[in-house]
Amino acid sequence: MSEPQPVPAGHLTLRPPRHRVERRAILWWTTQAASTVIVGIVGLALAAWWIEPARFWFALALIIAAVLGLCYVAVMPQWRYRVHRYETTDDAVYTAAGWINQEWRVAPLSRIQTVDTQRGPLQQLFRLSSVTVTTASAAGPLTIEGLDQHVATEVVEHLTAVTQATRGDAT
């Protein structure tokens, strides 16, 4: 997605974090998106089948949903894969996520409270893991989705080792 970035030369921008997430994450996101879209389409199709008086309108909605859904399934995972990145340094964690709306989060290691990994059933299927890093802020943790399970373990080990070295209650 090479959009024009209207930031003049010589101005500061955020650089993307160094590491991409695992390529298999595209498959994972595609599966997720496809299942959501399919549920919606099947629902509309059943409605169009059963409710005869409104069949035309349901069919119309079905076509629109199918077209939009197809675009979503085709575009979203690829776009996400280009955006989702992460990086850990000795001082901070840095993540980027999103597709249409994008978000970057930075947390200093000295303020980290917990580091967890999660694996949903779908992620298990693709041997993926998510790493969640929480701070004392109520405003949402940093999450790195779609890492290879081994990479996730390494990230967690690194972060745990470094955060254990820092003292205080991280508020």
């Binding site: 500061l12 955020l14 650089r15 390529r23 709306n101 989060r105």
Partner: protein, 519 residues
Amino acid sequence: MTTPPDDPHGQWHRLDPKSILAVGATTLASLLPVVVLMALGDTDVPTLLITVGIGLAVIALVLGGAAVNWYFTYYRVTEHRFERRAGKLSRSHRSIPRDRIRSVDLTAPPAHRLFGLSIVKIGTGQQAGENSELKLDAIATPRAEALRRELLRADTEPTGTATAEASEPGETEIARLRPLWLGYSMATVSLVLVVWGALVSAIGTLNNVLTTLGVFDTAGKWFETLPLWTGITVVVLILLILGVLGPFLLSLEMWWGFRLTREQDATLRVRRGLLTTRSLSLEERRLRGIELAEPLLLRWVGGARTNAVATGLGEQTETKQPDRKAILPPAPRAEADRVAAAVLRENRPVTDNCPVAAHPGAALRRRLTRALVGPVALVIALAVCGAMIGWMPSWVWIPALGTVPIAIGLAVDAYRNLGHALDGKYVITRSGTGIRRTVALRRSGVIGWRMKQSLFQRRSGLITISATTAAGAGVYAVRDVAVHDGLTFADEAVPDLLVPFLETRRSRKQPAHRVARSA
């Protein structure tokens, strides 16, 4: 059967037995109006007697329950812990390490005040979980005061029990209520809404009674005898008086006797309340900053609400009561600035209209677009409906088009309210139009950054940069700032954190970086 074990450190205490009576009195007070109204109405004697009987039975039950509670509840203060045992069927024994206690709040509802009692809430300041609070309902007020002092005294040597009537520790007053402020309090929209909500529900519950009393019939007949305009004027006047008087009485109840003091041991204390008195304490080391909130109406009359941004206050709201984070009643802006500075121990205001940097014009465009989507959609919808039906009364266009200038006004105001600044130890952000919020957050309290860009923001070179913190709402945003300015601001606010992730844009075509594949 619970027998309090003897302990060398602290003695087990019971709650005050008068608390049983206080609970009974509260129940009685809530039942009394019903009986009185029934007596005034045309209720026949047997029904009235039955109602009184039921009422007495309820009170007896409540008294019994309260007595059982009282019998099984003990508390004690030891050298290291505060402990409470309670319960009959499910027993609980809870204890809080004394160095974790962050707040000791006293509340005395009218019935409790009658018996000289206070409810004590001891909190650990943990954001999560309802179990972070222990409640003693209730003990004698002087004892509650002593307990409060005892538990909040941080570093002095711990003594045995809280029974000693210690002398009032040195405290300095930061602010006290000036009656004029009640006017500002009345101007907060939320308060007016609360009053209206209360009125509506009261009318709902009183509906039957009023109908039996024939109030509506009489009013209706009387109304019919009046000329139309007089009638409408009278109704409007009544509503106005209720709308003004209600907020006034509520403000009076909430903020009467307000005092904000700083105690020797670096604790801020708010005392307020006319019927129900409250004492709320806040340790200064939990304080990360101050937020000034100016709802539109309050802003027009030049007032502001002052809230503490502190850890462990959470976002929970007691209904009809201002948050625990409110450290000043709605007051003139200058006074709010002064108190904010005093609370933060600064000798000059940090939350006043300090030079807040203007945001790019693209931010104004964004606000205008967003504001106009609604009215334009409305106009189009009306036009389509008109075309389909084939007829549309011409006056509908007046309100539809009338929303346009209002929307534009709000958008422009929202844009002018955008701002951010670095001021010494503080990060200052401001935004909002319905409620304009100015937040001065200690830079040392910033524990991370969140940067957000929507597709449209990317196209117009804007970004929303939020500082995350352990206190208050958890995140405070600088909205729609130019990417370069925002990042420079964040970088200066917390040195060294963001530097490794920033780069200088070279030229448009050339990719500014190369990114390694996977780890």
